[in-house]
Structure formats: C-alpha cells, structure tokens
Symmetry: D3
Subunit: 292 residues, 6 copies
C-alpha cells in the first residue's frame, strides 16, 4: 500500500470530526433500504396478487402463498423496526407487536387504496380500466407507499416510514410525507413534482395534479435556531381540486370544493367553492438572440 | 394459524365488494410489467447495439445477434399482447400479426428517433456529442419509450403502450401519453415534470423544457358524469418552443415558431411567431420569520 | 428468414445515412452505464459503509474492505475513463493517473458532502436525525453524484461526469450539470424538478426547493448557428434561498441572503438581502364544465 | 461470415444423415434436465424441510410452505411428463392424473426412505446420528432419487425416471436403475461404483458396499440382433450383505442372510446363509521397475 | 384444497412415528450444507488465490482480500459450528475460539497440502506441472477437503467434518473419513472409488490408486447390537503403494515400502517391502450368447 | 488486526518456500475452470440444441443462435488458450488460429460422438431411445468431454484438455486422459470408476463397463528418478469387450473381438477372440463376528 492510499483509508475509516456518528456506528446494523423495498414488494403482492405476480395461482393455492408472504412480511418488518428503533433510540417499542398489528391492518389498507384507484380512474378520461391504474399509474405507487408508511408512523415506527415514501418519490416524483393525513378517494394525475408536507390534512375526494406543492411557508425557530416541527402545511377540505404546478404554502385552509388554478403561489385561505387563477400573461417580442 | 391471521388471509384473498375484479382474475395471466421492460431493453439493443451492450461485436456477428433478439422481441411481445387483449376484452386482435408488423417498423422507428437525438444535440450548448444524448439524456429514454408505445397503440394494442410510456415516466419524470402525435426533431431538455396529454398534436422541430404541461383544461362529462375522451389537449405547430414550467391547457393552438415563456399558464391560442411571458414579479421585504 | 426480416436486420445493422456513427463504432467498446453505476455504489459504500452495507463490519476489518473497494474503484474507473476518452477523442488523458487522483480526493469529497447533509438536516423541521438525510433524502443522492461528477470533470474526464449526474437525475428528479460550481452546505428540499445549469456558480449555505430552475435565457449562436457554450446560468451568492418552482434564467446574480419566492420567473439581478414574490392571484368563478 | 463458418453452421444445424432425429425435433420442447433437478430439490424440501432449508420455519407456516411447494411440484412435474410422453410417443398418459397420484404418494415415499436412513445409521459404526445420514450420506441421495424415480416409473412415466436416477449417479457414483425393485431398510455404504440393474429384485434389510455391481451376464438377442429386455439381473433375498467391489451377474439368486465377500465375480446362485470369498492372493516379489 | 392434498400436507408436516426428530426440530436452524460449501471455497481461495480467482490481484491488494476472506471464514464457520453443536448436543464447545484456531491453522494446512501436490506430481508421468495438479486433479480436491475436515474434527467440531469430506466424495468419488490420520506426501491417482475408513493410520509418501478400499472387516457389536466404533481399519506405513481396486480390510498393518497389487482382497498383515498380487486368470471360451 | 491474524495473512500471501510458484504468479491470469465449463456447455448446445436448451427454436432462428454461440466459443476459447500457453510457457502457439480450427472441427466431432451414442444405445437393453442416451448416459458426457479435449490436445493446446476431461470425471466417475486415442462406436456402460490412460489406443466398436482400468503397470524412470512419459497403457483392438472392474495394465494388446471378464487383473496380451475370466471363488463360512 503506498503511503497515500493508506492515508485515504485512514480518513475514510475514521469518524469525521465535529459530526454525529457516520462510520463505525456502535448501534449495530442499520436499517436496510433494500430489505424495506422487498417488504413493500411483498405487501403489494399480497394486496394485488394477480397484478404483480407473473403466475396467476388458483384461488386455493393463493391462500397458502398469501400466508407464506404474510409470515415473511411479519418477520422481516419486525427486524427492520428493531434496527430503526436502536438507531433512533426508541427503545420502548415492541417490534413484534407492531409488525403483527401491521399485518392485521393490511386488508383495511387495501380497502382505502382501492378508493384511490377508483378516484384516479374516474378523474382521468384517458384511463380505460381500473386495472390500468393499478398497472401503471404512478399515483397508485405513490399512494401504496404513503398508506403503508402512514400506518407504520401511526404505530410509532421511526425512520422507516420516511424511507418507504422516499422509495415512491424516487420512482414517481411524488413526494408525500408519511405524516400527512389523507382521506379516501384521493387522486393525483401524472404526479411528477408533487410535494405533500408533513402536517397537511387532506379530506376525501381531493384531486391534485403534477407539480403541486402543499408546503410550509416559513419556519418558527426554537431557542437554538432550529426550525420547530409544528403544524405548518395546508388543510385541503373535501372535494378540493388543485391544478398543475400550483404552490400552496403555510397553515392555510382551502375550503371544500375549491379549485386552485395551475402555476399559482397561494399563501392565504381560499373559501369553500372558491376558484383562484393566475393573472393573464403579457405578450411581447424579444429583440435579442434565439430565445426569450 | 391464529384466528386473526386467518381473517387477514380471508380478506386479502377475496374480491373486495363493490369493485371490479382485483383478485382471482378469471382472465388468466395478466400482462407482466417486468417482461415488457425486458422487451423495451431488447428493442433499445437492436437499435443502438454499441451503446447498451457491454461488448462491441463485429459487424458480421451483429447480424446474427440482431436476428436472435428480433425473434425474442417478436415472441415475447406477441405473448404480452395476447394477455393484454384478454384482460381488456379486445378479442379481435391477431397478436402475431401485430408483433410482426412491429418488427418491420423498427428501422423506421430508429430513423425518427435519430431526428430527436439530432434536435436535442443541436439545442443544447452543453452537449458535446450525439453519443452523449443517447447515453444520458432522459429525453432520449422518454422518446424511445413514447415512439415504441405510439407505434403499438396505432396498431391497436391495448394497455401495453401506457405501461411502456409509464416506465419512461418513472425513470425520467417525462410523462408522454402514447396517444399524442409528435413529429420528428422533437427535443426536451432536462425533462422532469413534462406532461404531454393524450390528444396533443405536435409538429416538427418543436422544443420544450422541464416542467412543461400540455394538458386538458376541463372535461366534458357524459351522461353518467364520466369525463369524455375527446380532443382536449393543445396543438403545437412546427418550430414552437415552450420554456420550463409553462402550462398550456385545452384544445388551443400554438402557432408555428411561437415561443411560450416559462412558468406561464396558457389557456388560449397563440399566433404564429407569437411570444408570451409572465408578468414581472413584485419586490418587497418580509417582516416575519426566516422564510418568505 | 423471410425476406422482410432480412431487410429489417440489414437496416438495423447498417449505419443510418447522414448521421454520425450510431452502429459499428470503430472506437471499440463504449463506456458502460451499468459499470459506472456500480462504481458510484462502491464510492457510496466506502464513504458511508454502515449505511449502504447490510453487514456492519468491525472497525478493523472495515479497513481491509475499504482497501479492496478502493482498488476496484481505481481499476474500474480507469477502464471507463479510457473508453470515454477513446470515444470523445481525448487522447492526451492518463486514465490511471486520474483514477489515482480521484481515489486521493475521496476523503475531501466526503467532507464537503457532510456539510450538505448538515445543511439539509438543519433546514428541514421534518428531519429527525442526520442519518435520516443519508438514508432517504433525494438531495443526498443528488449531491453525492454531483460532487463525484464535478471532481471527475475538473480532472478532465469527458462524458462520464454527465452520465453520473444523470443517474441521480433519474432517481431523484434533481438535474445538476457536473460543470456547475457549488459551495459547501448546499441544501435542496424534495428536489423533484430542480435543474442547475452548466455554468452556475453557487456560494455556501444556499438552499433551494423542488422545481427550481437555474437555467439559460438564450443562446449566443456561433457562425454555424450552433449555440456557444459560454457563461449563461445564474450566480447565487452565499445564503441565498430559492423557493419551489422558481425559474432563474441567464447570467444574473442573486445577491447574498436574497430570497426568491416560489413560481417566479426571474431574468434580472436581485440585490443582496432582496426578496421577490409572485403577484397575488386573481379570484374568479368559472362558468363552464367541471374544471377551470 | 467467412465461407467456412457458414459451412460449420450448415452442418451443425442439419440433421445428421442416417441417424434418428438429433436436431430440429418436430416433437416440441424436450424434457428439461434442469427443471427435473429443481423438482427433485422441492421434493426433498417437502420431505425433510429442516435439513435442506436455511430457515427453520415454525410448524404452522410450514404447512403453507409445504402446500405451495406441492403445488409447484404438481404443475412442473405434469409439464415434464407431458414433454417426455410426446418425445417417447406415449400418448395415452394423463400427466395431470399421474402428477396428482405422485403427490399423494409422497408421504409413503418418505416413510420407506426413513427405513433406509435407519438401516444406514445402524450399519455404520462411524455414524453419530440419523441426521448425519440425511445430511451427508451419498446413499441417502441415491435412495431419494431412486425411490422417486421408481414411483414415477411404476405410474408409467417414460424417460424421466432414468434422468432422475442418473442425477444421483452423477452426484454419488451410485447407479440404480429405476426399474429395480428394492425393499425397505436398504443400505449402501460409501457407494461409489455401485450399479444395480433394471431387473434386480432386492428384499428387505439388504446391505451393500461401494463398487458392488448387480449386473447382467449376457444378453439374449432378438431376431434383429438387438438385446432383449428380459429379467437378467440378480435377486437378493432379505438380509443379504455384499462387500465392496463384488460383481454379481445374471439372473442368479443370493439367498437370505448370505454374505458375498469383496472383489468377487459371482455368476451362480448362493444359498441362504451362504458365504463366498475370493481365493487368497499369492505373495511374490517383483524384479522389474518401480511398480508391480 | 381437496381432502387428499390436506392429508398429504398433514403427513409431511408431522413427525414420522417411531423415529428420531425429522421435522419441526426444536433445536433451531440446522447446519447449512450450502454455506459450508461456500466456506470451503473461500478457504481454497485464500490458500491458492491465483488458481480459483478469475482476477489476479497484485501482491499488495491480495493482503486485504485475504484479510476480508479470513474474516468471513471466521464468522461463517463459527455460525455453522454453533448450529452443529446444538444439533449434536455438544454444548461445551466455544465456536468462536475454534473458528479462531482454525484460521491460525490455515498456513500449516496449506503446507501439508503442498506436500500432497508434490507427491501427485512426482508420481504421475502424465502430469506436466504442479499447477496442473492444483487445477484438475481430483485428489487435490479430496485432500483439500480431508485436511480441512480433519483439522476441524481434531478441534472437536461435530458433524461438519463429515459433511465437508462428503462434498469432495460427491465431486471426486474419493471418500476419506475425516477421522483417518494421513501423513504428508500422500498421493491418489484417478481416485474414483477410493474409500479410507475412520480409523486408518497412513504414513508419509503413501500412494494409492482408484478403487482402493481401506475398510473394516467386521464389526464388534455392543450389548445393544450396535457396532462399536473401535480401531478397525488398516495401518499403512510409510512408502506403501496400493494399486487400483485393491481392498484391504480390518486392523491389519501394511509394512513400509510394501506394494499391494490391484483387484486384491487383503485381510491380513503384509510385511515391510512385501508385494502381493492376484492369482493369474483362467482362459476359456464361452459357449452361450454374446457376452461372457 | 491482532498479531496472529497478521502472521496468518503474511504466510498465506507469501510464496511457500522450496516450491514452484503457488501465489503471486507473475504470469498474469491463470486459466479459469469456470469459463472452460461454460465453453463446453456452449459446445454441447451447438451440437445438440434441442436437448440442452429449454426452448426449441425453429430451424431458421437456430442458425443465428448457432452463429452467435460459435462466435462466443471462438473468442472465449482463444482467451483461455492464451492463458494456458503463458502459464505453461508454450509461447509458439497462435490461439486464434487454433480456436478457428476447433470451430471448423465441431461438425466432425459431433459425427463421431453420434457413433458413440449409437453404440451405447445398441449395447444396452435398458435403453429405450437414442435420446435417452444423450439425456442421461454418463458415458455420453464422458465422451463429449474427451472428444473435445482430444481435439484440442492434438492441436497443441496445453493444460486445458486435461481440465476438460477432469470435469467429466467429476460428473461421471469416468476418467479418460485426453491423450488416449479412441475409435468410433465406443461405448461405456454405467462408467463409474473407468480409467483410460494417456497412451491407450482403442479401436472401433470397443465396449467397456464400469470400474475398468486401462492403466500403466510400472514406470520407467529417467536419470532424475522421474517417471518417463512413454507408451505404457494397453492397446484394445476393434470389437473388444471389457467387463466391469477389470484392470488391464501395461503396454499389452487385447486382440480384436476379445472379451475380458470382470474383476480381473490383466498384465499380458490376450489374442484376438480370446476370453479371460476370474477363477471361481471359494465358499466357506466365517466364525467370527457379524461380517466376513
């Protein structure tokens, strides 16, 4: 080993100064993003077996396959919860009990997810069949991950819910914080660039388009200058529609049946049945170069 | 099995009430998203063999490799078409005939795709070589998937075209409906958040940027309150340029050589050679907190 | 082989007319996107071993594992640089020397990356721990790829830096050109749709949100009508904040501590401590249909 | 393609003259040795789940795992039987019915196999535990394959039984023809070189050693000079022991409790309780070279 | 599930009556034959890195690779020892201590193995190079497994040594019990069918050929009718040669430099420098059929 | 690293004293046994495509598949020949030319191999079809490897032929030295334990059984005490039959149509049409213990 390479190794293998532990964690194995991905895949397969399984098993054998998959979900999830709790110092959590409750919640999770499928199908003239939504709508993936992650968060699981929604974010461009509360029959069209913040509260039959941000306007800092984690994202009441690329910021309330036009920047309440729109553009000609 | 786990299995393995079939499809195997992904990969390899193949086979053996790959594309595609038709009750389609026609169309598909590569190279000062476009421009991936999917849709294949463009959407953030009609020399820069709706008609030498939506403004509902699938997306004539995050909605026409500025919300026609721009922002200072 | 299939093969295996070489490259093997992906994965593992490794090796064996990984990074990277140089006709580059320098730079790359992690943690009230940032923040992935790619670009490596940042773009929707110059403590929240152009210069403690474009306004064409690759993207001084979906175009300067509001289209300088905001929307009711 | 390579391909792709079909079978897909290997592996796992499964599933979930495995064995085996029947022109066989009967026979197959395990344990002073026999005695593998293959042969399945015993032959050097009839409590020690011919009949509690051949002495030819497939291998009555490398040839009967010494060539009956031994060797010195 | 399939599952999932535990072991996971195979492969790689490694790492990096491999061998071996001890109720064994001692013994194991390579090379006129012996002589594989297994057995490890030698038996037809004691410079030519029993003692420079059995003649039974595990296999003194297919049985001593001819059955001592040969065959003609 | 582990690494990474190079070969990469195995598998697939390929491609596409496989065989084989020549200091060999000649020889190799299949079918009353021989007769595997290896040896390739026949030895227990010369229509039944030495010469229509050794009797040593590689194995003329476990040693000639009985030790010539048989055994009873 030449001296430099040795120095490189020394530096890479040592804890960076002035920073919380990055290497040589003493807390044992960290959660595995890969394993969590496999768990979500199994959950998808038990919920929609014919869609994400190349074989179409008969009804009878499906029960056994489902039982085996549930058992794997149970034990793998418990293991990951244990790792996450150790890392986040959440020592009072019983991972087996939570994994068991999560298994019990799966049928209800599918039920609410099917309301989302229904809403996405109804809202899109281009959709030919609910199966199409399940097969290829990114918002289906986004909501599958969100609803799993939200359930886990409500059961007190640290860290993992965020990893799970981020997987969907990576695949779909839809970034829903697991802490958001979202009612049934939620639909997102296209979805890329959607951001739904941690303290959002969304009613039923709400429909949003690509690029919509439901974000925070500003942060209240604590005495250490660290932003406080308080309610700071919008409330959307039932039957609200938000068009593409609109940005709604802060703890504002968009009343039921309101419609928010695209490319807007909204930082105030909108009453029920309200409609807001961007001002019309100016027209002019450019004198310089090939572009604008 | 404890009683609860049995209930979970019962519920997961039964058809959810009041919903079109989700489990225990009687229509046999459903299309496989994974297999379709492999088919698209093979198509990419026969079109651009040196780019997506770690080996660089000599010209002579390339012919044989291409023949073998075409044969696999043919049979795998026919199988997936068959599954899709069964699911969507499109029984009058001859999958072998379509798969054969698709094979025959591959050289023309590559030709038009190369016009897109050319346009992307010419439009981007940061591009050093056409090879760079093929290697790493997301819009190349987006157009590859779109042009394959559009060809299949035109041949009458249900469902699969949508799955194929959605794969590109997931990888690139570019969401082009396979029903859109797009001329040659189409370029997209960056691409994340681009949405091109089902009934768009786009001329040649059109260029758009990230975040552009070519969408529908509102839906005409049928007697059942279901949105009608009628022309409802913009027409962009030749040489139009649309800058980032602009939203153009409804069956409007953007005339040839028009330029649409970024972050706009356009719901009306723009004449040929027209230019539209957002109104200038207000400047002011905030009094509260750390943010805006 | 039926005659048509033979024609298809002939066309696919021949060089398309009037186009730079697409098939049958005489320049030998092209760079492999897959191998580059594996190299980046190894780099991530040597930098953050406990996070992306399912096992948590003890401190002593970690040194050996790191040595072996560095050796693989070194030789694989040199091989890819060689392929890229041959393709781009950059014959004066010593790939072994560069790969060696890159290895030497890894500890410093981690250091600056940790400042980004720090900034992302501090700026997000929803973050519970720096580990959460490393595990699941897309901007962590985006900056990891960017900082690797930028280092390689500075060492003169062609093509590969762009492929590397595009990998992150595909996973995260964050598109940073490797040519941009970005100071420490850079944070991006959510990130989908972010575009940072080739000639951007960004100070330290800059923070941007999803959908922000730092782009070029128009191109200066050379005598062949080809856009010139000159400084054409914004300069953001220290402590600037840019909110979601804002578009800043051209070689403008955003002064230190300035705040740019969301959904804006900015093509002019903003002074230090300046704040710009979109004009308030109009409110009105629609008379037609279900939409806006 | 140079002319010679073309000739090579022509010759390899054409049916060799004067020979039964070797290439371009018109009978569709042939049986797959690899798939049969996987079927046998699954059978081993349902019979001895804790031994050949890295996990040790609890009793309850084991039932479901077993159900799923049986279902796979059933359908895969039926598919292979169908292929074998087509090749061997055995068109009157109902592969589903046979696969079902085979599943039903598995518990009994395990029972008789356990008598073999018992005999091997009792006969070997070096064995510490029955588990050791199951883990690592080649004769366990040999008998597992034989008992599966024999059951299939009795149900009328062509070709596959022979492929299945040959797999064990390859792994263990024990070559038992599936047509042989072997009683319970059969043990083989070491096993390499054991050959048990097609028409052997072997009682219970028979024990043989490595290198033992129970073969045919000579063939009766039919009118075409082809050997007739008639009873031509030995009968070993209960409690017979045959020591290593003995060769017993022809339709002779070795009476119950007889012992055949090693390295013998036996072509005649041996009475019950008989013992036969090789003549003692001569002793002498060699005059030439380093060897004998 | 039809009633019969349920019965099949019931029977397969229940413990067979009158038999030591076969299913539903309460002793936790059993040893994994597959993992042991991987451990032996790693041992072979640390001992002969250039031979069984497709890359030829430089001397410096080899040290790190070796360190990583040793660490894996250590932890995997300890895990398998733990499982074996639990199954065999050998609770007083410290698996970590043994795995550590085994690591320490590896250089000496390679040294003695190289004497075997040397002997095999010297004894075979067909061998061109010692490398040929390491690459492809089955006796090299046989001795590698035996010497590993013997070392583990001497350290008190139950069950695993037998599994390890049986792997070599399966690959090579050479069956050496790990309990045998074999001196350096041992060579086996061809090897198929060789059996070396548990209590054999073999000096240095002993050479044997294919099909040689060094076995037990008869068993002394204990009061339960179970064979006693006492010294019962031959002693071969230094420089003995045994030709192919000879069988030497019982606790006899073959004196130094003795030569045993092929196809013999030897159950008595042979003095030093003795030579024994089979009696010459009779010649005659057969009157019946096509065979003998 | 504790001091001992460091010592272990030191010793394992250093060249053992007094021994030809074992580690840190300066001759570059050594041949890869794994790659050679893949080459043989490809050869088997081009020769018998329907047997060892799960798909049954149509005649037309088979030509392309064969061309691609031949190309892979050619380049991979040339690479392995190059490595072998470097190791064995056989610098005057043109690996590309040899690999090309080998490809040209494949059709003839298949022809002679089919004569062996024919002989094995005709000689075995238990065989139902030539396909059965190809699917599962170990002697088919043995002869496939031998005929490939012999062809390579005749072309001057060092080392690899021996590795190739040893693969078959491992799978089948049939050990044929690639130097042996074997005529067409050669059959081996069962095969375990067969050894055919380097200088054997075997005519056509020769048939041998399991356990037959055609070996060397003694070695002539050179002045260094090293055995000379001179003709030292038997000659079997046409139509000879050798029964199981017979050992024929030295440069003796077994005349045409001779039959050698089983379990014999033959070290002298046998005339044409001669028949030799073991002396009949003695019968007696044992007085001691349970065994012989």
């Amino acid at each position: 080993m030449n001296p430099d390479r040795k120095t490189v190794i020394d530096r890479l293998c040592s804890q960076p100064e002035g920073f919380a532990p990055i290497v040589n964690q003493t807390s044992g194995r960290l959660p595995s993003v890969q394993r969590l991905g496999e768990i979500v895949k199994l959950i998808r397969e038990v919920m929609f077996p014919d869609f994400f399984d190349d074989k179409a098993p008969g009804a009878q054998i499906l029960r056994h396959i489902t039982a085996v998959r549930l058992d794997t979900i149970y034990s793998e999830l418990a293991a990951q919860i244990r790792r996450a709790c150790r890392l986040m110092r959440a020592s009072d959590i019983d991972e087996d009990e939570i994994a068991g409750r999560f298994i019990d919640a799966l049928p209800s999770l599918r039920e609410i997810l099917l309301t989302d499928v229904d809403a996405m199908f109804v809202n899109d003239p281009a959709a030919c069949d609910r199966a199409e939504v399940i097969f290829c709508y990114p918002a289906f993936t986004g909501m599958l991950h969100y609803r799993i992650a939200h359930a886990l968060l409500e059961m007190g699981v640290p860290l993992l819910p965020r990893i799970i929604t981020e997987m969907a974010h990576s695949k779909t461009g839809i970034d829903i914080h697991p802490g958001a509360v979202i009612g049934p029959y939620f639909s997102i069209d296209h979805g890329t660039g959607v951001v739904i913040g941690e303290t959002c509260i969304i009613g039923h039959h709400v429909s949003i388009y690509q690029g919509v941000t439901l974000g925070a306007k500003n942060f209240v800092l604590d005495d250490n200058g660290q932003p406080l984690n308080i309610p700071r994202h919008p409330i959307l009441e039932d039957h609200v529609t938000v068009y593409s690329n609109a940005t709604i910021l802060g703890r504002v309330t968009i009343g039921s049946h309101a419609i928010i036009g695209g490319n807007l920047w909204v930082t105030h309440d909108v009453p029920a049945y309200g409609r807001v729109l961007q001002r019309p553009p100016v027209n002019h000609r450019f004198s310089d170069g090939a572009g604008i």
